[in-house]
Symmetry: C2
Subunit: 316 residues, 2 copies
């Protein structure tokens, strides 16, 4: 068997953040979960996407209003600094999602990776923005990520920190197999992500149970196919009446769920993850260098949407 | 809701084919299952990979011996012709996997698509060949696909036939997300495949239950992520003492298992599949043209194996 390289890996699921909740109230909850994760042996904690505020893309408003109320112009800032201080004091790193407004005024759906000294070592800006950019007054709520955010300007990334090679994604990215492949091709061992997934699909009457099903099968298959640990943190439950799924999980490279949240509230999962578990797959069934055939994958980068069948030789 | 375009879609799982079994014995079983599928409303039947013989890549032998015993130099040939005749008589098409030796002597692991008039309308030669090409005398059996077969010389394909756009894959192809993406980017509505999956992993002591788990999560996630029906037919059970998993399934574009084999023997599954079910996903969460970002997928075609992290700008 491969060498065991164990890492305490935590997911901190969050219950609802309501419109009336302040950043200070939210950070207090994050600090409590960071401390619990530390006490249970975690070296790193994964927090949700847009963790500091309610999932505001559900509300129609002007960009300027959204940016004033829900975006962070600096990170850390005074509200979040105590979390960074705890990280350094306890020696526990974290992943945190928030709405970023850059110095040049560009809005991104962003995640950062903070190491065990409290330093920001990586930043990822969401590439697969779901939803729409127009007002849908007949829908029960909006999904305005394509309005409020710009598509990430940098590639999918992997950072070598805290004893592991860690890739970052955000929410809808997890449904796209390309996301995971871009990270495993950069030698990721762990993929971390936060999400806000409404229980109701506003586009068609999708059975509600499918939302959780799609979340889980996608994470399980992607962890297996890319030989990585996957750690996914939900913000969930009913935010001012708008419900989102829970189901935060830590998935092993075997595709098995090693830990799963059982509430729709603040809840910490910790797994003592053997990073070597992915090696057995990387060296055999998914030895990419021996088995992948990029010469047969051309359409993945040549086409955006679906098109006609490729030409073929006559059948011999 | 989308228009309902129903299609009777069948999977014909096969129990073992032993070394002593003749092609004629096997074709008799295939014909029985084709007739059953027809009686239950199927317009098309999916048979396994290498359906006409035992899974011979488990045995070390010279290529010339393998080709003489286990390959087909013509298709249809006298042994298989009765299956083609039944297809035309009943008006039921099929997918069939077999070992192909071309007129120029090139060996492929091949699948054909035969329409309801008994005509071969498509041929696919396996791209993701698993296993090894050297003799491993200490292993309990061999997995010599890389020795006995050449990598497919044509792209992943989709054929417009029998009222649907049908993509073909074979066995190990199903574990690679690129396979499915190549087909959905050619507008596939159904992906059909056969497989022979040994229950024991000869490369490392993998828990046996994971073989079925990986098979199912990969099919479910891939069907969902690509908005296709997936129909997968096993050859399974113990062939001369070498056991392979069953678990033949028809998976909906929802990622749900619509039908699953419950034996390790010859067994027919039929689903009246609504091809329109995939459209709801194609038009929303997986509207590729709106959501895919090929400019961020470059490594998928540029790299074969994993490498270093991509360069990034300084964190601002």
């Amino acid at each position: 068997m491969a060498d065991k390289r164990k890492m305490g890996l935590a997911v901190a699921q969050m219950g609802p953040v309501h419109l009336a909740d302040t950043r200070a109230m939210v950070v207090r909850r994050l600090r409590d979960m960071l401390a619990e994760a530390h006490g249970r042996g975690a070296r790193m904690v994964v927090f949700p996407e847009l963790a500091l505020t309610t999932f505001f893309p559900r509300y129609w408003m002007e960009d300027s209003e959204a940016q004033a109320r829900f975006f962070e112009a600096t990170m850390p800032n005074a509200d979040v600094q105590p979390l960074f201080d705890d990280a350094r004091r306890l020696g526990v790193g974290f992943y945190l999602g928030y709405a970023e407004l850059t110095p040049r005024g560009v809005p991104y759906n962003t995640a950062i990776l903070v190491d065990e000294t409290g330093k920001i070592v990586g930043k990822y800006r969401k590439i697969h923005l779901p939803g729409h950019d127009d007002h849908k007054p007949d829908a029960p709520f909006q999904h305005l990520e394509k309005k409020f955010f710009t598509v990430g300007d940098e590639p999918f990334g992997v950072w070598d920190t805290m004893g592991a090679r860690i890739g970052m994604a955000l929410c809808n990215d997890r449904r796209w197999p390309e996301t995971w492949r871009m990270m495993s091709l950069q030698s990721a061992e762990i993929v971390v992500l936060g999400y806000n997934t409404p229980s109701v699909n506003i586009h068609w009457p999708e059975p509600v149970h499918l939302r959780m099903h799609h979340h889980l099968i996608t994470l399980q298959a992607s962890a297996y196919q890319n030989c990585v640990w996957a750690a996914a943190a939900a913000k969930c439950g009913s935010e001012d009446g708008f419900h989102m799924i829970g189901g935060s999980v830590i998935v092993a490279p075997t595709g098995e769920i090693a830990a799963q949240a059982v509430t729709e509230d603040d809840e910490v999962l910790v797994v003592n993850a053997d990073l070597g578990l992915g090696d057995t797959f990387r060296k055999n069934v998914f030895d990419f260098a021996r088995h992948r055939r990029p010469e047969h994958y051309s359409l993945i980068t040549e086409r955006v949407g679906p098109g006609a069948a490729l030409p073929r030789n006559p059948i011999e």
